[in-house]
């Protein structure tokens, strides 16, 4: 008698007691499904959060100004130091810096024909396009003449193009009205901002930052960020750039610093892992309970089939073969439960993915772990009943009423 034979006997025995088998498996099914769904949601959440928080641009790091009041004095009104093109030059020379991006911001009410919308405007320099790898869909990017000549030109993103222009219309060269002033559209670009953060209503636009400064009265440079030539060293490059800028500007009551994404990311991962582990172990308890249920039913089954065991022994089954038969039956029961649990988890993750923004997926690794773990439960909780069956004396077993 080989394992396959035992497996077939086990399957028919499970099939012969359908209701009992399903009820027994239920604990395993729910346990496995719960563990897999929780792990899948955990992984999905981690992926989504890291994507949202850090993937905007892994190469770029923002420098921001931090006010430090002189010792012993209360914090008073403070102003960020003026940033100039000289500062850009300084940062560009910092080792490891590939490019420097300087931007400012504005808000404008845009009107064209009957459409109107409040738009966020980012003021950029010519370096912005290559540094951020902006894809132009139509028209052209800004050139030095636009920046230096204070040309009142704008670029709109694909969302704004859809809102303000018909598909058949050519927006290039069109004049739009922004805060009651005319501007000329010279191009359409694909926004580099991750989809979930884009303004899906009106879209956004780019303008030479010199023009924003002129028309809106804002500073020409409100924000500096650097791009590292080696993305792996973004943190160090950012810190070095911030320190260089602080030193160059001779700041006394403040300094430039960067956000250390790596630390945030590590912290976040740790938190999610801990949470997943916590909820996962609670779900694991249900697996334990399921296993005990399996053991219970197997013990009942051994008692019920005492005479069958006696007969099998009389016709030549050894202890080992009886043990194997019942063990395989327990393993088949729990593995089947595990498989059904995975199926349930697959449905569960699909539902989770549909109703929430989290993309939860059942990975092949999890399926493998799920099945082997439920088989392991079968071994652990099947060994006692199987051993009991194998130790029955054939005479007593045959005489059992």
């Amino acid at each position: 008698m080989n394992i396959w034979e035992s497996f077939k006997i086990a399957l028919s025995s499970i099939w012969n007691h359908k209701v009992r088998s399903i009820l027994t498996m239920l604990g395993i099914i729910i346990g496995v499904a719960a563990v897999i769904i929780i792990v899948a949601i955990g992984q999905g959440t981690r992926k989504q959060m890291t994507d949202e928080l850090f993937s905007t641009d892994k190469n770029a790091i923002d420098l921001y100004y931090e006010y430090i009041p002189p010792e012993g004095e209360p914090e008073t009104f403070w102003e960020e130091p003026e940033l100039t093109s000289e500062d850009i030059q300084t940062l560009a020379k910092v080792p490891g810096v590939k490019a420097v991006i300087a931007i400012n911001h504005g808000w404008g009410s845009m009107i064209r024909n009957d459409e109107r919308g409040d738009m966020q405007i980012t003021g950029v320099g010519a370096e912005f396009f290559s540094a951020k790898n902006i894809q132009m869909v139509e028209g052209r990017a800004f050139n030095a003449a636009d920046i230096d000549g204070l040309n009142r030109v704008v670029l709109i993103d694909t969302i704004a193009r859809k809102k303000f222009f018909k598909e058949t219309e050519n927006p290039i060269g069109e004049i739009i009205d922004l805060n009651d002033n005319p501007y000329k559209v010279v191009g359409v670009y694909e926004s580099p901002i991750p989809e979930q953060f884009r303004n899906k209503e009106t879209g956004e636009m780019l303008m030479p930052r010199s023009v924003i400064s002129m028309m809106f009265g804002n500073r020409e440079i409100e924000q500096l960020s650097v791009i590292a030539s080696d993305p792996e060293k973004i943190s160090e490059t950012g810190k070095l750039a911030a320190a260089t800028l602080t030193e160059k500007k001779g700041l006394e009551d403040g300094k430039y610093s960067t956000n250390d994404f790596e630390d945030y990311e590590k912290e976040l991962n740790k938190m999610i892992s801990l949470l997943t582990l916590l909820i996962g172990s609670i779900a694991g308890i249900s697996l334990l309970v399921g296993g005990i249920g399996v053991m219970n039913i197997m013990l009942v089954s051994v008692t019920e089939r005492t005479r069958e065991i006696g007969l099998r022994k009389a016709i030549g089954a050894t202890r080992k073969k009886i043990l194997l038969q019942f063990l395989i039956e327990a393993i088949t029961l729990t593995s089947l439960g595990g498989l059904l649990g995975i199926g349930l988890a697959a449905i569960g993750t699909i539902i989770v993915s549909q109703v929430s923004p989290i993309v939860a997926t059942v990975s092949p690794l999890i399926v493998l772990i799920g099945v082997s773990f439920s088989a392991l439960i079968g071994i652990i909780f099947g060994i006692l009943p199987a051993n009991k069956a194998s130790k029955l004396s054939p005479i007593d077993a045959l005489r059992y009423e």
Binding site: E5, R312, A314, I315, G316, T318, R319, L398
Partner: protein, 225 residues
């Protein structure tokens, strides 16, 4: 098959219950033997020892000149599988398996392939006259038919000895007669048949009758050549 000075004691210490007090018995190939005795005489215990289902407490037991009284459990299981065909009073069928599968079951433990198992099981069912009941489940068979299936199962492994414990105990007299005639026929074909019974009429089919009382053989007579 040679048993000498076989004793069996159940329990331990103060609860010791001696059942067999020293049985000497030699069974030759091709014999038709009936073991008789009232209940509690120890005949079932003797049958269990002969059938390798139980160990004797003391004494020696030789099968074809080989000592088997203290063999390991796994060896006894193999001996049961190869040398003994059991027929029980209560039939002991696998209730969810049909006649063929029930008959074939000892062959599973002998490591015979499925195709050969089915073939041999069918042959045995034909031999016991159940060619038209092969696919029936035990609960679709009468008592006599069940016992025929059990006999086919006992024969399928081509054992040396057919060991029947009250094989007609659950059957009416007409069916009993048919079953006993089947045993006679099998014995004429050369099979050793041992029947444990308390009924005179059943024992009368045998060629040699042994009577056991209080754990001892009190009578051993050859009734037919």
């Amino acid at each position: 098959m040679k048993l000498s000075e076989i004793t069996k004691v159940y329990g331990k210490g103060a609860l010791e219950v001696p059942v067999l007090h020293g049985i000497d018995l030699t069974i030759e190939d091709g014999e038709f033997l009936a073991i008789m005795g009232p209940s509690g005489s120890g005949k079932s215990t003797l049958m269990n020892i002969i059938g390798f289902l139980d160990y004797p407490t003391s004494g020696t037991f030789e099968l074809n000149g080989e000592k088997v009284d203290s063999a390991k459990e796994s060896i006894l299981a193999r001996l049961r599988n190869e040398h003994i065909g059991f027929v029980f009073q209560q039939f002991f069928m696998l209730p969810r398996d049909n006649a063929i599968k029930n008959v074939a079951s000892p062959l599973i433990y002998a490591g015979v392939s499925k195709r050969e198992r089915t073939e041999r099981a069918k042959k045995m069912l034909v031999k016991v006259g159940l060619e038209d009941r092969m696919k029936h489940l035990p609960n679709q068979l009468s008592g006599g038919q069940k016992q025929r299936v059990a006999i086919a199962r006992a024969l399928v492994n081509n054992p040396t000895i057919l060991l029947a414990d009250e094989p007609t105990g659950a059957l009416d007299s007409k069916t009993s007669e048919q079953i006993m005639k089947l045993f006679m026929q099998l014995n004429e074909e050369g099979k050793t048949v041992i029947i444990v019974t308390h009924e005179e009429e059943i024992a009368a089919y045998a060629k040699r009758i042994i009577t056991i009382k209080d754990g001892l053989i009190t009578n051993d007579r050859r009734v037919k050549p």
